[in-house]
Amino acid sequence: MKIEFSSLEEGSASFALDDASIAFANALRRAMISEVMAFAIEDVKIYDNASALFDEILTHRLGLIPLVTDPDSFVPRSKCSCNGAGCTRCTVTLTMSVEGPCMVTSGDLISQDSVVRPALDNIPIVKLEKNQKVVIEAQAYMERGMEHAKWSPTTICGYKNYPIITHDDRCDGCGLCVEVCPKEILLVKGSAIGLKDGALESCSLCRLCEQACLNSGIGDEPAIHIKMDDRRFLFTVESAGALPTVRIIKQGLLFLKNQSDELYEALSEIRG
């Protein structure tokens, strides 16, 4: 098995997963969405809220702010030695004290930790008028995306089969399929159909080109063939901001590896 990136940035990545089963690809996708841990605000103490928003709405907005996460230097609360009470190994406290008139943004949150802080500083939280005030203390910890979507490190995370586009010698380069392709990846090359450079991966397997080819009266079979490689997958992963995309993929793989190692150990123990 192999991973080949076709694009890799901090916020989004797309890669091909080679020689894998559908089950494995899906396990990786599910692991990245719901099993990779990230920080998010969960408990908020509200000392003063004179804004137009209710406490609950304010807290909900705080919870959705992505916090930069360092999975190596923190432990999840459920596995922490403090038994869920909240200590410095699992919990980060953020404070905010703002007086209007102004726009309260995520940049106003002051974190006690140097790493765990809002990923973006310009997320508006609430607009304050003169004499309005918001004073809060918030506790953030790591949890799985399965618990609540705010803890999920991904926004877009999905895969599709790798497209295989071929044509047989009945193709006369009429260009009907070129016109109909919504992703505009086809072109006429001499007397046959070709692909634009590097455009293959944007094929959405919609098969409109096959339809167009059939409509030209070529017979029962189209001359262009869209197939999918069922051992090769094209992943798209987009980060919400808590973790860089490479780290999300790595944590997802580590989760699957840990699970199989744990099951192996538990089973061998029983067998003795």
């Binding site: 004179a50 137009a52 928003l53 907005r61 959705l64 702010i65 992505p66 973006l120 310009n122 997320i123 508006p124 939280i125 609430v126 607009k127 008028e129 309005q132 979507a149 999920s152 991904t154 926004t155 877009i156 987009e238 919400a240 901001g241």
Partner: protein
Amino acid sequence: MIPVRCFTCGKVISTAYEEYKRRRDENEDPKKILDDLGMDRYCCRCMLLTHKEIIDELNPYQ
């Protein structure tokens, strides 16, 4: 207030609102603004396009 994230995909969209509002009030084409702001998906685009800001109307009432 503009929602922090897109309801559908979870992308943080609230950061784009200030600029979107400013440029929209200057009568720029919303399609171009959204493209510039990196709103690729129609779920995120719809969040900005259909938002009505009412915080200023609520603010007089505590």
